[in-house]
Amino acid sequence: MATFFKSRSVQLSILGLFFLIVFVPYFINIPQLEWLTTKLMIIAAVTNAFTIAIAVYSQWKRSGRFIREKRRGWAYHIYLLLLMAFMVFNGIVLGQDSTGYQWLLQAVVTPLSSVIYGILAFYMASAGARAFRARSPHAALLLIAGFVVLLYQAPLTGAFFPGFEPAADYLTKTFGMSVSRMFSISVCIGAIVLGVRMLTGKEVAFLGFGEE
């Protein structure tokens, strides 16, 4: 049975069928299919939830191997497994509103995430310092535009140099907006053509198949 469902033609047929179930009701008014689409979305969400269990299992197995074989950084894997068990216990047994779970979330996960997000500013600055050099007229133009928009975003600039606002507004609403829309259009077209390749069986990487 597993071999049957793993065959490329069966998977592509299922893909084609589900594509029609989702695609048709978006354009054509068929209430029955709309109901089916909603059900399909729920099935996808439930399937996705099951894969979390697979991920926990594979992480447990991988960390267990690290600890057994005393590989580099094995102590961190003990810490990881303990935290994972603690989080699962608090979340499933005591519930997501329990003090332990909420404390882990509010006092550990959220601040740590904020730190990682915060240091993004330094990475942006270092990349900007490397890239924004006026080596050519084009680069100089980019540098000036970037400088105007950057200063406009700084809170004090508006108070001391009101002239930046209309210039930055113009750059954002004309050049910025048009590039953004062109990007969206080209990506949409690319995505539809990718869909055609998937449905015709040319693009199969997402099914776990490579070039044969």
């Binding site: 978006y26 354009f27 054509i28 008014n29 399937t47 996705n48 894969t51 979390i52 697979i54 991920a55 594979s58 992480q59 991988r62 191997r65 996960v109 740590l112 995430s113 990682i116 997000y117 240091i119 993004l120 990475y123 942006m124 270092s126 990349a127 900007g128 490397r130 890239a131 924004f132 590039v179 953004s180 062109m182 990007f183 259009i185 080209s186 990506v187 077209i189 690319g190 995505a191 539809i192 053509v193 990718l194 869909g195 055609v196 390749r197 998937m198 015709t200 040319k202 693009e203 990487a205 997402f206 099914l207 776990g208 198949f209 490579g210 070039e211 044969e212």
Partner: protein, 264 residues
């Protein structure tokens, strides 16, 4: 709300033109994919650089790090998986170690399973299945900002020769691209939204722009029928540009014909 120019019985109002355009794109793509001759396709430097970058890693004896994004099954991830399949094939053929950090969101678990199958398959096809190690495809975390330091940690410890970052990477992309640059790795990235793409263009050696990433699978396969599908993208881009120009002219002469047509 713009009044549609026409409606079709049975079709949802406002989506008729969209429906026709999607049907047309399907017809054109299937027609061109059936043609035997290979069309001219412009070069995509970021995709051409992948082979050289993997070769560089092989010569230096360093690993290649390739990720397919943090998202669930969406077109960015599917495009990222196509690139991963190609990189895995190159690495398997050249005996280069491939590290694939996975995770990053609650939707990423399911993609990981497909990615493991894909890489394993690439090694098997190359006759090097003994070189495949699932441990080189670690699941870092289902949280974006726990995945980021995990990924950065791999870059610092392993010092890869090449870092290829595709699929839907979000704000963490800058942390990873900059760290990749700091460890002296060739950095090839793909942005999945405009502001991210601009930032990645600063941080990376090569960046894939717009639809280059969804087209990567076809471009890298060198298969004429798949390459032909890229031509359809170009045809549609010209149609989009044409409609924009016509719309601009129409609005300026006081006609909302194009606006109403597109809203039909």
């Amino acid at each position: 709300m713009v009044e549609p120019l026409f409606t079709f019985p049975g079709l949802i109002t406002g989506r008729t033109i969209g429906f026709l355009l999607v049907i047309l794109i399907f017809v054109l793509a299937i027609y061109y994919m059936g043609q035997a001759k290979s069309p001219y396709i412009r070069r995509v430097p970021a995709l051409d650089a992948i082979e050289d970058a993997v070769g560089r890693s092989t010569e230096m004896g360093k690993p290649v790090v390739c990720s397919f994004g943090c998202g669930g099954f969406e077109y960015w991830t599917i495009a990222g998986l196509s690139i991963l399949g190609y990189v895995a094939k190159l690495c398997a053929e050249t005996d280069t170690r491939l590290i694939v950090p996975t995770g990053g969101s609650s939707d990423s678990y399911i993609v990981r399973e497909a990615a493991v199958d894909l890489v394993r398959n690439a090694y098997t096809v190359a006759g090097k299945s003994e070189n495949f190690s699932e441990e080189d495809m670690p699941f870092l975390s289902g949280e974006q900002y726990a995945y980021t330091p995990g990924y950065v940690g791999i870059l610092v410890r392993e010092r890869p020769g090449t870092t290829i970052m595709t699929g839907s990477h979000w704000s963490e992309a800058m942390n990873i691209a900059e760290m990749s640059n700091a460890v002296g790795s060739i950095t090839i990235t793909a942005g999945c939204y405009t502001s991210n793409m601009a930032a990645l263009a600063c941080a990376s050696d090569y960046v894939m722009l717009g639809e280059e990433q969804p087209a990567a699978g076809a471009y890298l396969s060198r298969d004429p029928s798949q390459l032909a599908s890229i031509r359809v993208q170009d045809i549609y881009k010209f149609i989009a540009i044409g409609l924009m120009i016509l719309g601009l002219i129409a609005i300026n002469i006081g006609s909302d014909f194009i606006k109403r047509l597109i809203s039909s």
